[in-house]
Subunit: 455 residues, 2 copies
């Protein structure tokens, strides 16, 4: 094998279609339910917040959705993204493993989020919407939607979890640069926000509350399209450009991964990288082990329950069947803001049930240690979310060393950490803690699951 | 012409050599002088701070220097960088001009600085140095040296201008992530720093002071190699990978620039992009107008004097012949930290003298306005330094509209602005001012030029 470290595709060699794993997954997807009736949500009911094309993708069992030309043109500004052989990290780990990473940090906002933001903006624009509304935690998703809205000539309204809004003024400024309006949540702008503030005027907010506010704002203003940063089937499908490119790039490297590792929050980066590989295996092709790495402080896959639950604390969303810690769950403070959701994409849950994916939970200080080692060898500073995948891959590589086996390990580097240096600073100062979720806290939040829970 | 927006080269299609404009520039380069004697610096004298290979490059009249394999391998992690046709910006400006930009923000540290940081680290390593020492203003250069040192297994010591050190803790954390030691300057670690502190314990520092400290530290410890972020001939040569790639990419676009625009501080991004184009013209090939855009608050090229001057306030550097505002000059506060030097690369000065480059000075609020327009059309948030080039290109494009002429305009986008959102925030809050340099202040700092001045 050559000493090549970067595997690039030509400017037009990125996928023409998004991949829908539902077509290949035995048992397919579990339908979302109308919480009022317990019956599967109908396309008509979904039409309140989603344009027809996204509903079609959300419910489809087709294997591929064509990427619209206007979206491909915008993808072309930074796609295909590079895939790297991590030779320097291999050397530092003294591992016989072959380590590869697929890097999404070269997008204009520094993460993989624009892959679906642009798609959703396009379909909402097509449906005649004037603007987009969404919630954001750490701000990666809000920034991506702000950019996508602006590039399609739309307004953007972003409800940002208040504690992040205050801690991350630069994220707000970034959204403002794209012309978006960013509001601290809970806010007085929606009934959902006012209800929270009435109980607790000093509420720091949560992703669940911000989601309630964004849904309420979309319900109140039919010119606004509600957009979703992760979890839903169509969102995960949009991200599969990552894995499809990676398959072609691994072929250029004359290799194929034995193990694919991704960080797990809502599931969009993980699915984006892993689903195309899982699909190959499900269709009788090459098989890779897939490992989801989640924070021990928000252990949805490793300690959550599979249940029908709401996406938001205000119970405005449909019920979706997923691994969940309960929609009232608010994780302790930790720095991977993109991995703080109480639930995960239903198709990720289905993959675990079908034994085509496994999950581990890791401590954040271990993640930062892996992130620093990665920066010092490969040169790229990973986002805190991405450090989870780095750590998962490092552990696999060390196992290869112990076993004296050379496996090929591919992991997803979802974004750069240029916005997250405050977290690295705290890590170096020894100020980061590893809070695990107590059994009592978990029981409490699971007790708040809706009646329909054990499905 | 197609609707293509991104022009990429293959993973191995970046230059094998750095370009040295001295070979083509009539009259060549002016030698640096020993301040003690007023005689040209000899290679022996230069050897105190520079490895043999860099001295050779600094003094060479050869047209090309081979890029060492180890440096090319590291370049390969992000080079070739993309060149874009700015079709969305063209549309917003309603200009018949064809706008292109060469983007260096996809490097691991987010700017063009690693192009020379890796080269300098390599040669110092080869010369047996244990570590690297340098000064940094805003932090882009310090970060690049920190990464380069780490990737070559060396230590890094960075003297950071104190006011930036305090205002930009994230930059410090980034350097620390690469294992560097970053010190606020003036510091008690060097005689130069102690002298400043004795006079003014609250000194906010300046690039000139930090340079004195870095030079002093290198002089005190022979295991440390002193590195330079801009201005010197070899540094500018290392950056020419940018322009050489751009020539190949413009050919892919089936176009050639009538105008090349770059931001001007020490001159490294400007030279990196423009020198290969200027060289073609000087050798009788195609000619492009080249426009340097500098801040009105630090107007080295438009209001400085051509003189032999020091690079640092402590007068530890050799004397170099350049446009200078005087080595005691401290610019008023503005946000393009990379454009705050009192002098510029001597070869930039020579280009102005030979009429192959022109210069304009612009106000920072106009730059930020152009940067926001760029982000809202092209999606990429430019660094404050880069916004100067954006503004210069926008003005050229608007002139095309007035004149009804379609020209091809290429500008350099030296880096992303993900570290600079505090500045954008101040811009949106209306808190940025446009301080111009008063004639009195300019006279004062020019009066401090060394005796040898009018050469």
């Amino acid at each position: 094998m050559s000493q090549q470290v970067k595997f690039t595709l030509g400017a037009d060699e990125y996928p023409h279609t998004w991949y829908n794993i539902v077509a290949d997954l035995p048992g397919g997807a579990a339908p979302a339910l109308n919480p009022a009736t317990g019956e599967p949500l109908t396309p008509d009911q979904m039409a309140a917040t989603m344009p027809a094309e996204l509903i079609e993708q959300e419910l489809s069992t087709e294997r591929e959705f064509e990427i619209p030309g206007a979206v491909r043109e915008l993808y072309a500004r930074w796609r295909p993204t590079p895939l790297f052989r991590a030779r320097a990290l291999e050397k530092a780990l003294e591992t016989p493993a072959r380590l590869y990473y697929k890097y999404e940090g070269t997008s204009p906002t520094g993460s993989h989020k624009p892959n679906t933001a642009l798609a959703q903006a396009y379909y909402h624009k097509l449906a005649g919407k004037r603007g987009l509304v969404t919630e954001t935690g750490a701000g990666q998703w809000g920034t991506a939607i702000s950019m996508a809205a602006q590039l399609f000539g739309m307004d953007a309204l972003v409800f940002m979890v208040k504690v992040s809004y205050e801690q991350k003024p630069y994220r707000r400024a970034f959204m403002q640069t794209y012309g978006a309006r960013c509001i601290a949540s809970p806010s007085i702008e929606t009934a959902a926000g006012r209800a929270v503030l009435a109980e607790d005027p000093d509420s720091p907010g949560s992703l669940g509350i911000a989601t309630s506010e964004a849904l309420a704002a979309a319900a109140a203003d039919p010119t606004l399209g509600y957009t979703v940063g992760s979890a839903l089937n169509h969102v995960l499908a949009h991200q599969t450009v990552i894995g499809q490119e990676a398959i072609a790039q691994m072929a250029l490297a004359d290799d194929y991964p034995d193990v694919v590792v991704g960080c797990a929050g809502g599931g969009s980066n993980l699915a984006g990288l892993a689903f195309p590989f899982i699909g190959e295996g499900l269709r009788g092709g090459r098989k890779a082990r897939v490992v989801a790495v989640e924070p021990a402080a928000c252990p949805t896959l490793t300690r959550g329950r599979i249940a029908y639950d709401f996406a938001d604390i205000g119970r405005l969303s449909p019920l979706v069947r997923m691994h969940t810690l309960g929609h009232t769950f608010v994780p302790p403070g930790f720095h991977a803001g993109g991995l703080r959701a109480h639930g995960i994409g239903p198709l990720i849950t289905r993959c675990l049930e079908e034994n085509v994916m496994e999950a581990i939970a890791v401590a954040q200080t271990d993640c930062f240690a892996a992130g620093v080692q990665f920066a010092r060898t490969e040169g790229i500073l990973p986002a805190p979310e991405s450090t989870h995948a780095v750590l998962g891959a490092v552990r696999e590589a060390l196992r290869c060393r112990e076993e004296g086996v050379s496996r090929s390990i591919l992991f997803g580097l979802s974004g750069h950490g240029h916005f997250d240096l405050a977290a690295y600073q705290q890590y170096f100062a020894g100020e980061l803690t590893d809070e695990s979720l107590s059994d009592e806290a978990l029981e409490r939040s699971l007790a708040a699951l809706p009646e329909l829970v054990n499905v």
